[in-house]
């Protein structure tokens, strides 16, 4: 498939029918998808390890142990029973997270007191410096990958044809209809399955144009060197600690996207969907009565 060819064109004369094996994702989309999937996983897991070095989040320019965090993960000792527990505190609300956050057992069964557990971090054993090596190297793959993918998608028409949310799709009644269809797990069939629906477009656009750039920009806002030549980046978020908080929140929004994405792939037929993203071949779901 040549890269300039449209991914899906329902107006084509030989309109593909349900059951037909068709070309779905172009090569550039497929390559970026998998490179980015691995990169985001490494970024997330090394990022959680970096967070473990100071498991508190603040608003504003400064924030350290003597200042009030809005989010905190830690370990508590019950003075009466002498038992320890892990907790997550958001504002003034505290949740017991023993076993997962703040107090957990490692692979050998030893009790650990870091915020995020070994199975969620890179490296699995506490090391801020090694996590930073992973995180700051893969940051290049994330940023340059996104930049080139967006530029290429602009050139080859992927953005205009597949991601662009049309005026009709922004219509609240249309959106509500799509949400209703999604909730009842009614997925498009036949040639309609070749197009991203409005909710898909909105979530992909949200990731491509809001969440991923936000991760990169808030990451840069935490760099003292960048803050010198581009102070507006840090200031725009209301300070370095605010940028760090937004970095963390955006990361969890990406996790939310990932979970919904996986659920949708599983519901839509994981083999067909994953094959389409690997080889580009996609079998159109059959229409009713076909």
């Amino acid at each position: 498939m040549s890269v300039g060819q449209p991914e899906c064109d329902s107006a084509a004369p030989d309109r593909p029918r349900g059951g037909a094996l068709v070309r779905r994702h172009r090569l550039s989309t497929r390559v970026w998808h998998w490179v980015n999937a691995v990169t985001l996983l490494v970024m997330l897991m090394s990022g959680l390890m970096i967070f473990n070095a100071h498991p508190r989040l603040y608003w504003g320019e400064y924030g350290a142990n003597f200042d009030e965090p809005w989010l905190k993960i830690g370990t508590l000792r019950n003075t009466r029973t002498g038992e320890d527990s892990g907790f997550l505190q958001v504002g003034s609300r505290r949740f017991d997270t023993t076993g997962v956050l703040g107090l957990w057992k490692d692979a050998e069964g030893r009790e650990r007191r870091h915020a995020f557990p070994y199975w969620a971090t890179i490296p699995s054993q506490y090391s801020l410096s090694v996590a930073r090596i992973w995180h700051l190297a893969f940051a290049w793959v994330l940023a340059l990958g996104l930049l080139f993918h967006l530029l290429w998608s602009l050139i080859n028409g992927h953005l205009r044809r597949d991601i662009h949310v049309t005026r009709a799709e922004w219509n609240p009644r249309h959106l509500w209809h799509e949400i209703w269809r999604h909730a009842r797990l009614r997925f498009p069939t036949g040639a309609a399955a070749l197009r991203y629906n409005s909710l898909q477009k909105l979530s992909y656009a949200g990731v491509l144009f809001i969440l991923l750039p936000l991760m990169i920009v808030t990451g840069l806002a935490m760099s003292p060197a960048t803050d010198a030549w581009a102070p507006i980046v840090t200031e725009a978020f209301g300070g370095r600690q605010s940028a760090r908080s937004v970095h963390f929140i955006a990361a969890f929004l990406l996790i939310a996207f990932f979970l919904v994405h996986i659920v949708m792939v599983v519901l839509a037929g994981p083999f067909n969907e994953v094959r389409a993203m690997i080889s580009g071949n996609y079998r159109l779901p059959k229409e009713k009565g076909e």
Binding site: L41, V42, M45, I50, F51, A53, H54, R56, E61, Y62, G63, A64, N65, F66, D67, Y118, W119, I122, P123, S124, Q125, S127, L128, S129, V130, R132, I133, W134, L136, A137, F138, A139, W140, M222, S223, P224, A225, T226, D227, A228, W229, A230, P231, T234, R240, Q241, R244, V266
Partner: protein
């Protein structure tokens, strides 16, 4: 039948996810032990430094106003200097203490603290960013490092300025190093005053380096000797600093 199928599919996915997670984890840890892979990852640091220098070689770190300062400035790392000599100097207010400037210089210096305090001063309220993620804003005052280096007259082969310190962490003396771009940066000072008072011991009395566009571990405390060098090789672990040697932290800490 369908229920069974769904269940087994669910179980399969779950087993797959756990298996893949485990593989990925041990895979990443193993991969990092591979010297070639690790050096590729570490080259990310060089790319960051080159980019930062290209975009903001002479940029000034942001300075803040008095009412933007942290109410309490956290101290961490070494909170005290080591050895009898340091303790007795601390007790005497560093009266017969002097800062040495040597190595690749035309005129080695031994500068008493009161002479150092008489040099033209720079005062700045800046944000201190720890590699761990926290920040604190404080006021620093002291002579520019460039002024001292000009007095000592660097030899042309100098590429690094090394700071030898009076604190020992886990049995190793603390030291740090920067290149000449940072050494001659206008905000790079040797602070003997913090928040309007002489530097406290926990903050590195009598002198602390401020190298504002880098993370906290580069800001050597308890500075007793400044050495001009052409290379970092052969100095302690050879990576240019305590944390660089002991913990695989990056030498360039602008990110």
């Amino acid at each position: 039948m369908t229920e069974k199928l769904i269940l087994s599919r669910r179980r399969l996915i779950r087993a797959g996810a756990v298996g893949a997670g485990g593989l990925l984890l041990t895979g990443c840890d193993r991969l990092f032990e591979n010297a070639a892979f690790r050096s590729v990852l570490e080259s990310g640091e060089d790319l960051h430094m080159a980019t930062q220098r290209a975009l903001g070689r002479d940029a000034l770190a942001r300075e803040f106003s008095v009412h933007e300062m942290s109410p309490v400035f956290r101290a961490n790392g070494s909170r005290e200097g080591s050895g009898e000599a340091y303790k007795s100097q601390l007790a005497q207010g560093f009266a017969d203490w002097s800062l040495k400037v040597d190595g690749l210089v035309e005129r080695p210096l031994a500068m008493p603290l009161d002479v150092l305090k008489a040099l033209p001063l720079r005062s700045q309220i800046t944000r201190h960013d720890c590699v761990e993620g926290w920040s604190a804003i404080g006021q620093w005052r002291g002579p520019r490092l460039a002024h001292l280096l000009d007095l000592a007259r660097l030899k042309p082969q100098t590429r690094y300025i090394v700071f030898h310190c009076a604190d020992v962490l886990h049995g190793h003396p603390y030291y740090e190093s920067i290149d000449l771009v940072d050494a001659f940066h206008p905000q790079t000072i040797l602070a003997w005053e913090m928040n309007g008072r002489p530097l406290e011991e926990k903050h590195g009395a009598p002198l602390r380096l401020r190298v504002e566009r880098q993370l906290g571990y580069k800001h050597a405390k308890f500075v007793t000797r400044i050495e001009a060098r052409s290379s970092l090789e052969g100095l302690y672990g050879g990576r240019g600093g305590y944390w660089e040697d002991q913990g695989a932290y990056a030498w360039y800490a602008g990110i």
